[in-house]
């Protein structure tokens, strides 16, 4: 029995979801259609999301997938064409941003260049009428939290990119919003700074316990930081789940391809036994899948490159195994990446850790065996859920057209 993306979404509620069942943010059938002249572009298509309190939630997807538009509708900068946005249970659809209890960290930081760091952070508190004495206390506290206590009098232009980023964070957090929206906040930083800011953000989020909604196109960032991830593509949520779920059990081909590197194998389900199935691949190799399938069904499977072993001798027959020819090797120091071509032309990427016992180095052109544990061939639910199993084993050429449909 396999699990559909929908069922998985229900299973993967955040473990942090506390005593209050009302989600911090919920979207119901939210769509956004842009019209320019006679053209219409659907940026977001009927998105349903529940973001729990205290959760670190990521909206992950390529540019143009609708993640930023979704966030802007939560913030109130854009109004949904259709559907409803709720903040802690209250319908805020159509409510302007200055009346919403969420704050945003902009990709460009959007710090007010004419104000000091202190005045930037105090801006929201002043507007909401907090007493002067309380303002300076809270601003000081917040600047200490982001480790900029000694920079209160500086202008944004006098700070480094990472420091400006932390000011932007402090300026939003100081208002104690019910949720903090972060729009690719680390995008402008260099790699090293980005990595240290990732753990910094996590630490701050744990300390303040505020719901974080994090928009990013960087799957590594989303995997490291999030409690849950919504993977978006072309305006819809393709999968909703924990980092391990979207990585290990991608719901669609898109998710499998977008998150990490993935090898896609297509084939036809054969005999089902021991809670698994044999799958005949296009090049007639038979591999085991850890899922029981209807015999004859067309199957899309993914295998992660790091799960595959590359050997020159024949591996144990209990493993899933295929034969191929190495076409490319990339030596990376701690690991080597191989590209192996199967008889039918399918290319498989293998990541091999260069441990002391992995001395076998396959060179380009050499014939090798690839093997992996059967449970690591993960069957994409999309393929066999959406396609009815044919009664007779399908003609391979027919299968090909199905897969591309």
């Amino acid at each position: 029995m396999t699990i559909t993306a929908h069922e998985r979404a229900d299973m993967s509620r955040s473990p942090i979801a506390g005593t209050d069942p009302t989600p911090a943010i919920s979207l119901h059938g939210v769509s956004k259609v842009y019209r320019s002249g006679s053209e219409t572009v659907t940026a977001v298509r009927e998105v349903d999301l529940n973001i729990e309190r205290g959760e670190f939630f990521s909206l992950l997807g390529p540019s143009g997938c609708g993640k930023t538009t979704t966030m802007r509708m939560i913030a109130g900068f854009d109004d949904p064409t259709d559907g409803e946005v709720r903040l802690t249970g209250n319908d805020v659809t159509g409510v302007p941003p200055n009346h919403r209890d969420v704050n945003m960290v902009f990709q460009s930081y959007a710090l007010f260049p004419h104000m000091s760091v202190h005045d930037n952070v105090a801006f929201g508190l002043k507007r909401s009428g907090v007493a002067k004495r309380e303002i300076s206390g809270r601003v000081g506290e917040m600047l200490d939290l982001v480790e900029l206590g000694d920079r209160a009098g500086h202008k944004p232009a006098q700070l480094s990119g990472g420091q400006q980023q932390r000011v932007a964070l402090a300026r939003a957090l100081v208002n104690r919003p019910s949720a903090l929206l972060l729009d690719e906040p680390l995008g402008a930083l260099d790699l090293k700074l980005r990595q240290s800011m990732q753990s910094e953000l996590k630490r701050i989020q744990r300390e303040v316990g505020i719901t974080f909604v994090y928009v990013t196109h960087d799957q590594g960032e989303a995997l490291t930081m999030s409690d849950r991830i919504a993977v978006m593509n072309e305006g819809i949520v393709e999968q909703l789940g924990s980092p391990a779920e979207v990585y290990e059990r991608p719901a669609t081909r898109f998710v499998a391809g977008f998150i990490g590197t993935s090898n896609l194998l297509t084939g036809t389900a054969g005999e089902a036994r021991d809670g698994g199935s044999d799958v005949r691949l296009a090049d007639d190799h038979v591999v085991r899948a850890g899922t029981a399938l209807l015999p004859g069904a067309a199957v899309d499977m993914t295998v992660r490159p790091e799960k595959i072993r590359i050997t020159t001798h024949e591996p144990d027959a209990a493993l899933s195994r295929v034969r191929g020819t190495v076409t490319d090797t990339v030596y990376l120091g701690s690991a080597t990446h191989y590209t192996v071509r199967l008889a039918d032309g399918t290319e498989i990427v293998v990541f091999c850790q260069n441990t002391s016992d992995a001395l076998e180095v396959a060179e380009a052109g050499s014939a090798v065996w690839l093997s992996w544990q059967p449970q690591h061939s993960y069957v994409l639910p999309e393929a066999h859920a959406s396609r009815p199993a044919p009664h007779t084993p399908a003609d391979p050429s027919d299968e090909e057209t199905h897969n591309h449909a």
Binding site: G76, P97, N98, A110, F112, H114, S116, A172
Partner: protein
């Protein structure tokens, strides 16, 4: 190496020569002229006659102060009209921004004097505007706009509006629109977002626009002579008359320098009030 170091200076040489020849030399000559005595027939002799200034200021104080008043009023009118225009083009202009900018500059393709004269036709007692208003009974029959202070100020504002719009536009166009969103996100109302964020950031543009409007408008004489009649003469008209009609070169030069001194004084105090970082911070509080 020495030659290479000289290159920038050599490149700057034409510019410096130009300035020396056509700016510094005439200014120095004018300054010398303002301290001479005599007349065109007998010639002017250098006598360092400072009383030229005293006489000029005493005689024409009314016109000098009127010029500053008209120039200042026109600048304020330009700011009130020009800021919304610049704002609208910068944030709402979309892909037609350059078209709108061209429209603002379009009157400049017509001669300055012609533009002013066309205002005279437009505002004349029975012209397009007043004539229509009077014929439908919306204005009293004896209403006149021409030959008045408002006519001169409006004419000045009309002629120098682009000098206000363009610098403000340049600042707003460079401004990150996310700053306004950030202000709204941090609970600011529209008014607060404007006063606390947009205006302070646009201030350098307002400052430049103000200078570029105030200086030429307070020295202008075309608007006053075409639209102002006989009772609204500005200092520009006086200088022109003294120089070209009365041939009283020292007096004309003395008024010119008085005007220049007053403008410089005004500019420096204006810069102190608007242009410095510290004042902008105060503004933001």
């Amino acid at each position: 190496m020495v030659k290479r170091k000289l290159v920038p200076y050599l490149l700057a040489l034409p510019g410096w020569s130009w300035l020396a020849l056509f700016f510094v030399a005439p200014i120095a000559g004018m300054l010398a002229l303002s301290l001479t005595t005599g007349d065109v027939i007998t010639g002017f002799r250098q006598t360092f006659h400072v009383a030229n200034y005293v006489d000029a200021i005493a005689t024409y104080w009314e016109q000098i102060s009127r010029s500053l008043l008209y120039g200042g009023s026109a600048t304020v009118v330009c700011l009130l009209l020009g800021f919304p225009m610049a704002y609208w083009i910068a944030f709402r202009g979309g892909k037609h921004k350059s078209t709108y900018l061209l429209l603002i500059l379009l009157p400049f393709f017509v001669s300055f004097v012609l533009r002013t004269i066309s205002w005279k036709f437009t505002l004349s007692d029975n012209g397009v505007v007043l004539g229509t208003l009077k014929s439908i009974g919306l204005a009293p029959d004896d209403l006149a706009v021409l030959n008045s202070a408002p006519a001169v100020v409006l004419g000045l504002a009309y002629n120098f509006l682009p000098f206000m719009v363009l610098p403000i536009y340049a600042v707003l166009e460079r401004m990150d629109p996310r700053l306004v969103e950030a202000a709204y996100d941090l609970y600011a109302t529209r008014t607060q977002a404007f006063l606390r964020v947009i205006l302070p950031i646009a201030l350098p543009g307002v400052f430049a626009g103000g200078l570029m409007t105030f200086i030429p408008t307070s020295a202008d004489y075309v608007n006053a002579s075409v639209l102002g009649g006989t009772h609204n003469t500005m200092v520009g008209n006086i200088i022109r008359t003294e120089y070209l009609v009365n041939n009283a070169y020292p007096t004309a030069a003395a008024i010119t320098f008085t005007l220049m001194g007053l403008l410089l004084l005004g500019i420096f105090s204006y810069a102190r009030a608007l242009g410095t970082e510290r004042v902008m911070e105060v503004q933001a509080r």
